[in-house]
Amino acid sequence: MRQDEGLTRSVTRVLLVQLGNPVGDEIAQVVARSLRDLGVDVVYGGLQDSLQDIVQAAMQEDVDVVGVQLDSGNALDVSEKIGGQLSGIKVVQLAPNMTVEEAVTVIKEAGAQDD
């Protein structure tokens, strides 16, 4: 769901979180800033303890897209695990080796898709 700016622009809401033990949140911060500069409202949630916490945050924030940054040891399919609980919200996984550009593109594309 988008919010109409009244004129023409629409803002997408994105939740950005980390799961597991990522090496740091520098990448996530740059991704957040890039998205902000594209006009997106980014809820920066930081490190989450569990998938259930991510589901709760995504629901409360009523976002369009959740980007989950995983650590290298994590072979989890996040969107398969929680996507079902989040109808209407896209869950995308940000692999640890993704560049900022790739991550931004993945999130943008998910936000542009229709339900």
Binding site: E5, D37, L38, G39, D49, D53, Q56, M59, E61
Partner: protein
């Protein structure tokens, strides 16, 4: 939908807050229904300059309030970028200690998410959480800018957070938020200069005007989220203030003031939006003022007249 909100359904509450932000005509009835059911929560405003520790405090406050069995809703406002219109909403990051608790609902909001109607939208978001049954609703916003100050003043209890260090104090005075406090918090009391900051605020309290015609003594409460100190004291002070408002009957006047402000803010919001869609007439009037045919005031009156007819 409204039934689900009243029953505390998380997604229904979240969607209703989005509707409050978007203010579409088709959602008016639902939001009116929300408003009818609100009015029970104790609304607490948290304000202070950026980085003063408001979100961290909200996180530990939430935990402390939950110990008493009460539920907590939080509306946390962060600024939008004036360049892109986007925002990084970073308050939630400081409240991860509250994750996984169904008795807590946290919602982040961008200042421009409501297209200029920040006060209207954020206070409607508070209504949604109130109607959903949260006992206490915290609203966090920086104390800079008139809208932000209006928002915290729409709380029953206003908490002004100052971090140690003189710079913050000077900024708070400039922003005019010191005198709206019902409770002063000196955050980060684990830091050495906190005692001096608390002394400064106590000193200033004796001087300036306050809105306390009644005999409420504004407390200065040092807290440290880091060391877990002063949080119980703060909850006790908030509860005492709420009780004071009830005992003295001051709550009624405060409610009136809040409603009055909201009506005016909403009127502003409606007018601003309508004129955005009526740029042609505005352009014509601007031309006439440019030519000094009419003064700005007359142009404004004409705009309002056509607004009334439409």
């Amino acid at each position: 939908m409204i039934k689900d909100v009243l029953a505390g359904d998380v997604r229904a509450i979240a969607k209703m807050i989005s509707r409050a932000e978007a203010a579409k005509p088709e959602d008016r009835d639902a939001l009116a229904e929300v408003f009818r059911h609100a009015g029970k929560a104790h609304v607490i405003g948290l304000t202070g300059v950026p980085g003063s520790g408001k979100s961290t405090l909200a996180g530990v406050l939430g935990l402390e309030i939950r110990k008493s069995g009460r539920t907590v809703g939080i509306v946390a406002i962060d600024p939008s970028s004036p360049f892109s219109g986007g925002a990084i909403l970073g308050d939630r990051l400081r409240m991860t200690g509250l994750a996984g608790d169904d008795g807590v609902f946290i919602r982040s909001m961008a200042t421009r998410g409501a297209m200029g109607g920040l006060a209207r939208a954020s206070l409607e978001a508070v209504d949604v959480l109130d109607a959903a049954g949260f006992d206490i609703v915290l609203i966090e916003t920086v104390g800079v800018g008139q809208d932000e100050v209006d928002i915290v003043q729409a709380a029953h209890t206003v908490v002004v957070v100052s971090a140690p260090g003189l710079g913050d104090e000077i900024q708070a005075i400039k922003a005019g938020v010191l005198e709206i406090a019902d409770i002063h918090v000196v955050s980060k009391s684990d830091r050495a200069d906190a005692a001096a900051t608390a002394a400064d605020i106590r000193g200033m309290l004796g001087l300036g005007p306050t809105r306390h015609e009644d005999d409420w003594q504004v407390p200065v409460v040092p807290t440290s989220a880091e060391a877990g100190e002063g949080i119980e004291d703060l909850v006790a002070a908030m509860d005492a203030h709420r009780k004071h408002l009830s005992d003295t009957g001051a709550i009624e006047q405060r409610r009136r003031d809040i409603i009055g402000m909201r009506v005016l803010k909403t009127a502003e919001d409606i007018i601003r939006k309508d004129f955005k869609g009526n740029r042609e007439q505005l352009a014509v009037l601007i031309d006439r003022v440019m030519a000094r045919e009419i003064p700005p005031r007359e142009a404004a009156e004409r705009l309002l007249e056509s607004f009334k007819k439409s």
